[in-house]
């Protein structure tokens, strides 16, 4: 009796595990198909520039406040922490450039990606998901309008363009924070601060961050819109879709960051 119970329990666990793997692979395949559809529809008229600018405004302009705030404090914290570490080995003059390099290559694109995944990725999934459960997407299709072209294409292009710009804003503001804390609070000499920056900082370092942000912007919006279109079963489904969009958006940023870093340090 007990043996049967444990046997069945074990079989069920294996079945559930196997099913979740199959579902994950199927989901990944569906997402690739969705991405292929995006490319197919993004180059076909009509080109809805008004929708694109609306999305650029939403993802770009409306994220600037949170990006500025996050960038400023990240720069300030980074400068403070780096200073106290570097002070021990008398290289505190390198605080500015270390913060700038870290921000340009990693923190600016990654943190901007995480913020946009939380803010805009979730909004994409929620908007498209609620349109799906209220038959608004069906209404578009019945009118002869492709819903991917109308809803996903402007969002994905806008996110891909906006994220590098937001990342540059993050980097700029972060470095301002670092400069302010470094020179005004930690009393690093201003001339040394800037001379080290110009000595060790290259354009390639900026490119690395911008390329990463470009990829993150694309992936976050693909994930956000994909989970929006997958929504089923009313409000619960919208909540689930939004949740998955944020989780997978953030995880993707962190995983991709590693692989992009390996690739970009070799080519740049």
């Amino acid at each position: 009796m007990d043996l049967d119970y444990f046997k069945n329990f074990f079989i069920k666990q294996v079945e559930d595990f196997g099913r979740s793997i199959i579902e994950s692979i199927a989901g990944l395949g569906n997402m690739f198909l969705f991405t292929a559809r995006f490319f197919y529809w993004s180059v076909r008229p009509p080109f809805r520039f008004k929708l694109l600018f609306e999305q650029l405004f939403f993802i770009g302009n409306k994220s600037i406040a949170i990006i500025t705030l996050s960038g400023m404090f990240t720069g300030m914290v980074m400068a403070t922490q780096t200073y106290f570490g570097f002070k021990l080995i008398n290289v505190d003059s390198l605080v500015g450039v270390i913060v700038a390099l870290g921000m340009a290559k990693e923190l600016a694109p990654v943190l901007t990606g995480l913020i946009v995944a939380g803010r805009a990725g979730s909004a994409m999934a929620a908007q498209i998901g609620s349109m799906k459960v209220t038959e608004q997407i069906d209404a578009l299709e019945v009118m002869g309008i492709n819903s991917i072209q109308y809803l996903a294409v402007p969002r994905i292009i806008a996110s891909t363009l906006a994220l590098p710009m937001l990342s540059v804003v993050f980097l700029f503001v972060g470095n301002l924070g670092s400069y302010w804390v470094g020179t005004k609070s930690l009393l690093i000499d201003e001339a040394i601060f800037f001379s080290k920056l110009s000595e060790f900082m290259n354009v390639e370092d900026l490119f690395q961050g911008i390329i990463k942000a470009f990829v993150f912007g694309f992936v976050i919006s693909i994930i956000g819109t994909y989970f929006g279109f997958q929504v089923e079963k009313g409000a619960v489904g919208v909540g689930r879709g939004t949740n998955l969009a944020v989780i997978w958006g953030m995880i993707s940023v962190l995983i991709l960051d590693y692989f992009l870093t390996i690739y970009l340090v070799r080519i740049l």
Partner: protein
């Protein structure tokens, strides 16, 4: 039932999802310029049938002709363009919730016509007035409109491109009796007003009372098969036990 030059013609249409047969060897016509209701219990295959007529789903076997065109011969782009022959009123109107009533009705006109802003504004006003929406509600968002008003706006949007076939998906579900009567009158009025264009109305419903009041023909769908399809007066007197049971509800 077979008609000469029908608006919609299904021949041996079967749809299977895996092992489940949703539509089972359906063959029937829908007459032009008529109001035809497809009645049936939930899960009978009504919505699947509607999606086939719109070309959103393809049958596993059989052919569907709409306005004399075999849908299986159209590629995806042609099918999208062909769908402009349809107008559809959804169960809960499916208005775009970020658009006002006016913008919802203007949407198909701005997407598919070359009309100037003034011409579109004039057409939108005419359409909204024709379905009984007052001027002060033109700028309201769907969330600020009652269920009945949303249906009116949805109907105005569906009619914007002068469709040849008007589809109504459960138009009276969830409405109070007065609004139900209003929607029924609206369906009949719309059919009357567009009679000269030979507009065909197809209603998917399980509202027996409304069906008998407004339809010319009634088809009863059960488990993917049409079990009865008659002019409304004959349908009322059908001897089919299933129909008798349904009519008693």
């Amino acid at each position: 039932m077979q008609f000469e030059n029908p608006a919609i013609s299904l021949k041996n249409v079967t749809k299977k999802f895996g092992e489940h047969t949703i539509l089972n060897d359906l063959s029937f016509d829908i007459a032009r310029n008529s109001i035809t209701t497809i009645l049936g219990f939930s899960g009978a295959g009504k919505s699947t049938l509607l999606k086939h007529v719109l070309g959103i789903l393809s049958p596993t076997s059989g052919t569907i002709e709409v306005l004399g065109k075999d849908l299986s011969t159209l590629d995806k782009v042609e099918l999208r363009e062909f769908r402009r022959n349809f107008g559809m009123l959804f169960q809960y109107a499916a208005l775009f919730d970020s658009f006002t009533a006016e913008e919802n009705v203007a949407f198909p006109l701005t997407e598919f016509t070359q009309f100037s802003k003034e011409e579109i504004h004039q057409q939108v006003t005419d359409l909204l007035v024709s379905v009984g929406i007052k001027l002060e509600s033109f700028k309201k968002l769907p969330s600020e409109l009652s269920g009945g008003m949303r249906k009116r706006v949805g109907l105005a949007r569906a009619l914007a491109l002068n469709p040849h076939i008007m589809l109504y998906d459960e138009p009276t579900t969830g409405l109070d009796p007065i609004t139900t009567k209003m929607v029924n009158n609206l369906i009949v009025d719309t059919a009357e007003k567009n009679k000269d264009r030979e507009m065909t109305s197809v209603i998917i419903s399980h509202d027996v009372k409304a069906t008998l009041e407004i339809s010319d023909y009634v088809a009863f769908l059960d488990r993917g098969t049409i079990v009865e399809y008659l002019p409304v007066d004959e349908f009322k007197n059908s001897k089919n036990p299933l129909i008798q049971e349904f009519l008693k509800l």
